[in-house]
């Protein structure tokens, strides 16, 4: 095989040989990254004083239709030490109530049936997070999507307002896109 006839190949090889080897880091899964986002969201959201909210110091994250995300959430060291971090994770099924849930992640497995959950979530100021196409137009507030092998998210401020939630500017600045509320 005529690899020797490739001057570029030789050049590239030389360039690479000069670089020091380093430890190999395995890329995390999509679900792991989504779980960490969910865990961190509470720091960037302001719940109304009237809502149960994590005002009492304890944040309850509900997960429906995304078993692996729930598993990853439960493996985050700070979540395992729930007393210390003040984060509790609840796995839900589609028929379950969501009273007391502050952050609700609705995975692709449940999104198409989630309309009643979303309505209830808006009423009780629950932050709805999803990872389905078009979920923002269905009332989700934060929607993950995969862009260039990275998990990014879009935000609907209109839905956030409907749920009476305030999102920090830091969160907005990381978002890929922010759909503003319509003029009233």
């Amino acid at each position: 095989m005529a690899i020797a006839c490739l001057p570029w190949a030789a050049l590239l090889a030389c360039a690479c040989l000069c670089m020091p080897p380093a430890a190999r880091a395995q890329a995390p899964s999509e679900d792991a990254v989504k779980a960490v986002y969910l865990f961190k969201m509470r720091n960037y959201v302001e719940w109304p004083a009237t809502a149960a909210g994590p005002a009492g110091g304890r944040t309850v994250i509900g997960v429906v239709g995304a078993e692996k995300v729930a598993e990853h959430l439960l493996q985050i060291p700070a979540v395992r030490d729930s007393a210390g971090s003040g984060v509790t994770v609840r796995r839900l099924r589609i028929g379950d109530g969501i009273a007391g849930i502050d952050i609700l992640f609705i995975g692709q497995g449940a999104w198409s049936r989630a309309a009643p959950l979303v309505a209830q979530a808006h009423d009780q100021s629950t932050l709805v997070v999803s990872d389905s196409d078009d979920a923002l137009s269905g009332g989700s507030i934060i929607n993950f999507r995969l862009v260039d092998e990275r998990i990014r998210f879009d935000i609907s401020l209109e839905s956030a307002e409907r749920a009476n939630l305030k999102l920090s500017s830091q969160l907005l600045s990381v978002a890929l896109s922010v759909a503003r509320a319509k003029e009233k």
Partner: protein, 649 residues
């Protein structure tokens, strides 16, 4: 004359069994690798800031389930987002987004699409799969692009691999593999309607997705497209327009996918009534994760396609394909993928007078077993060795091995190299093509002008690659692949040994080498630049003794020495985006086509949560350009402006 598959089938098993002795050898090699250190723990993601989290690369969702940055192949992934932002309305146009593929539009409905050279209207060294279903025609060894469609909004990703992929995908994955994957049904809930139109084409799509009683999801769609005839560069109308209607469904539940499509179309052809095409397919795939951690995927599909081409042929082809694949970890160092598959095709051709596929009715089969093992020698080094043994009714057993090495040179960079052998196995056009259909007979010898290719053997390619990928910062990534390929037994058209007419033979060789580069730079959170370039040299020559009469029979290639593209994606405000794509395509030698540059622009606007609007202009630099074919006959593409409206709820 031509043996049918059945008469030889008992020998297949024997051959496969004999060849199976390779497997223990490979497995032994892989297991003999030295022990390596335990995996370093995951980066503690929870410690990362929101910004850093958004820059973390995640494992790709592809079948092989490896991060793209770890792939030991020249692979580029076209995402759903980039297709949406490009305004592409058809599969071939979407493929222009991949920097490692040559796309030349031949006329209103035909394309010459290849990677690493050998571009012709009958391109035959690129394998294309739609959701695991091969759309490579065993009749003419290539893809009828005018018969293939998917709902563009339903595409999840298109993996474009330039280079050999035969060990996983089988014969004919010589110069590349294109895997088109649609979204899971659960990812497309609600209703979508879209219409896209420019000066010469219109596409309309409707889709509805919902839930199944058993907890799964489904979607159904229908789509219709119309492409008008276009003018040649001499100003004459060329009858190559078409219309096509397609509908289909997909359902996913509990690891099971069932999907199917049906289509029909009318394709214009000069001087005759329209070519009629029709087809249907049904596919089932189930993935099971066993307690041992082994993942087993079984897939079966049936595909029917008909092409009734006046003055040529009327083909009815039924294909049945069954395959099983397992992926398992062997100890902490080895990951093994192994599988087997059988495909049968029942081809029924009614021939016209000018040429014929003989015999008209032929049953074809392919059977394969493969295994590929990846060994982690240490934290830096991986060795991937694999082989596929594939049996076909024309040439018997084909051995398709690959050996790949990956070396993590640093946290953010990887060097890889590969050596592979791959073949293009004969299709009916190589063995069974006769012209005219009913020749005069002189002294008992039929006087064919072209008398098939009774001895035609597989074309062989031996490929070496060296690739490098680096991500110098969170916002910049870069990939380079150098390749060198030697082709043996390329197709030629030689005087028949019996002195009458011509037969297809294998008396040419070829050499190609080149460099594929692409990179991406997220300049600002709302502005991304990406670009790619290929420089290549493609040479073919005739062997001693060849009296090849028709360069057009397949060895003549018409490839650019270079092509490149630059793309800018800019979110000018929330809900407003502007995408620009500048492409440059080098001159083609034969038939000579001048180099050209084009600029496409697409403006996207999320007008309301339910309504998405996109305005696009293509070929903006010149009033028109040509891409392929002889002067005076080739199609000229004019500057176009178009619009696409998408409504969802």
């Amino acid at each position: 004359m031509v043996k049918t598959g059945r008469s030889r089938s008992p020998r297949i098993l024997q051959k496969i069994l004999r060849a199976g002795r390779i497997f223990p050898v490979l497995a032994g090699l892989a297991l003999a690798a030295p022990a390596f250190a335990a995996q370093p723990g995951l980066v503690d993601l929870a410690e990362l800031s929101l910004e850093d989290l958004s820059k973390i690369r995640v494992t790709s969702v592809s079948k092989r389930d490896e991060p793209l940055s770890d792939a030991t192949a020249s692979i580029y992934v076209i995402t759903a987002e980039s297709i949406r932002r490009s305004g592409a309305a058809s599969l071939p146009e979407a493929l222009r987004l991949a920097p490692n593929i040559q796309v030349a539009r031949i006329d209103a409905r035909n394309y010459a699409i290849t990677a690493r050279g050998f571009s012709t209207a009958l391109e035959n060294k690129l394998l294309v799969l739609i959701d695991g279903r091969s759309v490579y025609s065993p009749l003419f060894s290539g893809v009828f692009w005018d018969a293939q469609d998917v709902a563009i909004d339903d595409i999840d990703r298109i993996e474009v691999i330039s280079g050999p992929g035969a060990t996983l995908w089988g014969a004919n994955a010589v110069n590349g593999v294109i895997n088109i994957t649609t979204k899971a049904a659960g990812a497309t809930p609600g209703t979508l309607a879209s219409i896209s139109a420019d000066g010469t084409s219109r596409v309309g799509t409707v889709r509805h997705g919902g839930e199944l009683d058993n907890g799964g999801s489904y979607r159904i769609y229908a789509r219709t497209m119309l492409q008008e005839d276009l003018d040649s560069d001499a100003g004459a109308r060329s009858a190559t327009g078409m219309k096509r209607t397609q509908a289909g469904f997909r359902a996913d539940w509990a690891g099971l996918t069932v999907q199917g499509d049906a289509y029909s179309g009318e394709l214009h052809q000069a001087g005759t009534r329209d070519i009629r095409i029709a087809g249907a397919n049904l596919l089932g795939r189930k993935t099971v994760l066993l307690a041992s951690g082994t993942e087993v995927t079984a897939q079966a599909y049936w595909d029917f396609t008909q092409r009734d081409q006046p003055n040529a042929f009327n083909e009815h082809l039924n294909t049945i394909d069954v395959q099983v694949q397992g992926a398992m970890s062997l100890g902490s160092r080895n990951r093994l993928v192994a599988g087997a598959g059988v495909r049968m095709a029942f081809d029924r051709i009614a021939n016209a007078s000018s040429f014929a596929f003989l015999p008209g009715d032929l049953d074809l089969y392919w059977a394969n077993v493969f295994m590929q093992n990846e060994t982690r020698v240490n934290d830096q080094l991986r060795v991937i060795a694999g082989v596929k043994l594939e049996q076909n009714n024309y040439t018997g057993l084909e051995i398709l091995p690959t050996l790949r090495l990956a070396w993590k040179t640093a946290e953010n960079s990887m060097l890889w190299t590969s050596a592979s052998r791959t073949v293009r196995a004969p299709s009916r056009i190589d063995r069974d093509f006769y012209a005219p259909s009913q020749p005069p007979v002189v002294a008992g010898v039929p006087q064919f002008v072209i008398g098939g290719g009774p001895q035609f053997a597989s074309e062989v390619a031996n490929v070496a690659e060296l690739g490098y990928r680096i991500q110098p910062s969170a916002t910049v990534s870069f990939s380079a692949t150098a390749f060198a390929t030697r082709y043996d037994r390329l197709r030629t058209l030689e005087p028949s040994p019996n002195g009458v007419g011509q037969v297809f033979s294998n008396l040419a060789t070829g050499r190609t080498h080149g460099l594929e580069l692409w990179g991406q730079w997220q300049v600002m959170p709302d502005w991304r630049l990406s670009g790619g370039a290929v420089v290549q040299r493609v040479r073919t020559e005739l062997e001693k003794g060849s009296r090849d009469l028709s360069a057009a029979a397949g060895i003549a290639t018409s490839d650019p020495s270079h092509y490149w593209s630059l793309r800018s994606s800019w979110d000018i405000a929330a809900g407003h985006g502007i995408d620009l794509m500048l492409r440059r395509y080098g001159a083609l030698p034969s038939p000579a086509v001048p180099a050209y540059s084009t600029l496409d622009l697409n403006y996207t606007w999320q007008a309301t949560p339910n309504l998405h609007l996109s305005l696009f202009g293509s070929s903006l630099l010149d009033s028109r350009h040509v891409e392929f074919g002889r002067s005076g006959l080739r199609t000229a593409y004019e500057r176009q402006v178009g619009v696409k409206l998408t409504w969802r709820r």
